[in-house]
Symmetry: none
Subunit: 194 residues, 4 copies
DNA sequence: AATGAATGAGACTTCATTCAT
DNA sequence: AATGAATGAAGTCTCATTCAT
């Protein structure tokens, strides 16, 4: 089925090298100061090759973002199977989110957290729909009792989470994102759905 | 007494023109895409004049930031006189913060909210010490009863506030920052200090 | 064997054009007033191309310097074969030096002779070690009899030579560098090693 | 006679401040990197004032040069009175020259020793005529016996001296200019006029 | 005599992107 | 698929100098 000729395999390998090099470099170097040429030099590929695989450096960012989404979804789907309450699921959701940011690193998070990043404001992202599903279900099942709608809750939670990651970036990762996330989300959940 | 000669006055005026032009342009144009040349063209001054008054465009951002701080402080000092509880003061504090961001505009806020902005992480800023004072006083007076220290409360509140402003930027100001801020802060305050 | 594709050859040619254009222009125009843009305009290449091949204009100077060194060495090695006395070798050495400065031109020499040029103060340069070898050998063979060490002689000779070239630059090449060099060096050699 | 009003005295004082500040700064900072603005900032005068007293920074250099000439002449005239041979006078001449360069400092010397400096190539300078006079007198008195003319001797001596100062600049003053000058000039004098 | 605000040409350099090979 | 030479627009900043006060 998949006709992976030698050439295609090589191409996949090359693309992976560029991807990984970028991920590595974005940790050391401010995203805006990261140039295609620098990436290529480190990755030992030509700039032409870079443009063969990606449109520009934002393109890689997007790919990382999507791969993180996929990774997130996969993890969630596996965990969801276990019988948990809505509250527990919410907590678990944001714990996982914090894990992912930690895993992808501070540099990547800094690059991501800018106000022009419209990847954040996409309500169709799997991540967003997943949390909404959890909340809607929780409200239906009376596990969540609140004056606020599921939509409002979702927004408050994401806003809080982003505030924490933003703070983590500002403070150069000088605290455990996972612990802080857990603490803050717990606090918000208790406040909105006591 | 005041050695404001005609020429000195003219200089102050010129600097103000640059300042205001920048403030105006940062609303229309992404900060990173705003160049010194563009600012000068609009302000009708030479680039030399720009560099006579400011070191670079970040320098103006800083000035705006500090002026906002001063403005904030002045407003707070006036309001504080009225007898209010600590809780009311906290709410008032963030209401004012939201007002300021609204007043300085979306463009300015977007320029400000980037993860490399170390102006945020300065614990000596008047704004920060003011909130801390309110919290410490509130705890002393038993108006705030919480498991968390004043320092922890301060951090949670600022993190929340930044999350909201960040969201406001992401969504291009499509909701009232002042209302959202009031609602979220109320929620957090109730959660931490019931 | 030689992986000189058509494109690689073209690149070498382009670099050579820049190099030669620089050498040409440095004769006409004071080095400090020679700008990258001017060089590019004359060479009919883009500034980008310039920076692709060289780091800056000092970089070309260095290349010229090193090429001159190589040229010098090659010439010396050929001449050395002939049986000469140490004194003759010294004279020959500085005759060749004068030839090279004459060949590279007044403009180049003027650019070179500034007090910040640390290319001069590099005792590991082939040119320097060559003269030292001649002197050491001359002392060993009793062809040079002097109160001064080989090292001291070397220094005096180079200092003298530089004084002459400096003078040649100051006087805009209004005398034969080769003749003057020959005369002065002869005089010094006789003085130190009679 | 001299109507030194308060205003004129102030002007002289200001000019002196600029002069001294320049002399001070040229020791620390490469001459080419020394800007009028920097000098004025350090001297606590306005740029306007600078241009009131000097045409540009080269103008100050020239003034220093001339003052050094005057200083040199004065010193020589005093010493000449003593009965000395021509040879001793030559040695004394260059000893004094070395003293002056040492006194004015490395930075000043570095600024001076560039190939575009036409102050050097001025045969009417007092310094030049003084040495010529010594040589002519020495030849007349049969104190100097040489194949070379007084003019040729003068040139060789100055060329040598400049070579030494140039070397002193290149090596960042890492040897005693006065000692080296004495040694080299002695050597040349012996060579040309045994 | 002194000030210093204002000018603007011009230098340096970077960098995304193309395209022939 | 991969190369890397070439492009040139665009941005930053400097600095000598002028001139009204």
């Amino acid at each position: 089925m998949a006709k992976l000729t030698k050439r295609k395999l090589q191409a996949i390998k090359t693309k992976a090298i560029i991807y990984n090099t970028f991920l590595e470099m974005v940790q050391e170097c401010e995203f805006e100061k990261l140039t295609v040429e620098k990436i290529c030099k480190r990755a030992n590929v030509s700039v032409g090759t870079f443009y063969h695989h990606y449109r520009n450096k934002y393109d890689i960012m997007e790919e990382i973002f999507h791969r993180a989404d996929d990774f997130f979804q996969e993890k969630m789907l596996n965990n969801q199977i276990k019988g948990k309450t809505a509250i527990e699921k919410i907590i678990g959701f944001f714990d996982l989110l914090a894990q992912i940011y930690t895993r992808y690193g501070l540099g990547f998070s800094k690059a991501l957290f800018n106000t022009r990043n419209n990847l954040f404001v996409n309500d169709k992202r799997i991540m967003v729909t997943m949390l909404r599903d959890i909340l809607v279900q929780g409200v239906e099942d009376n596990q969540i009792v609140s004056d606020l709608t599921a939509e409002e809750l979702k927004r408050i939670l994401f806003t809080t989470a982003r505030g924490i990651v933003f703070d983590w970036c500002l403070r150069d990762g000088d605290f455990s994102l996972e612990k802080a996330m857990h603490q803050y989300i717990l606090l918000v959940v208790r406040a909105v759905a006591p």
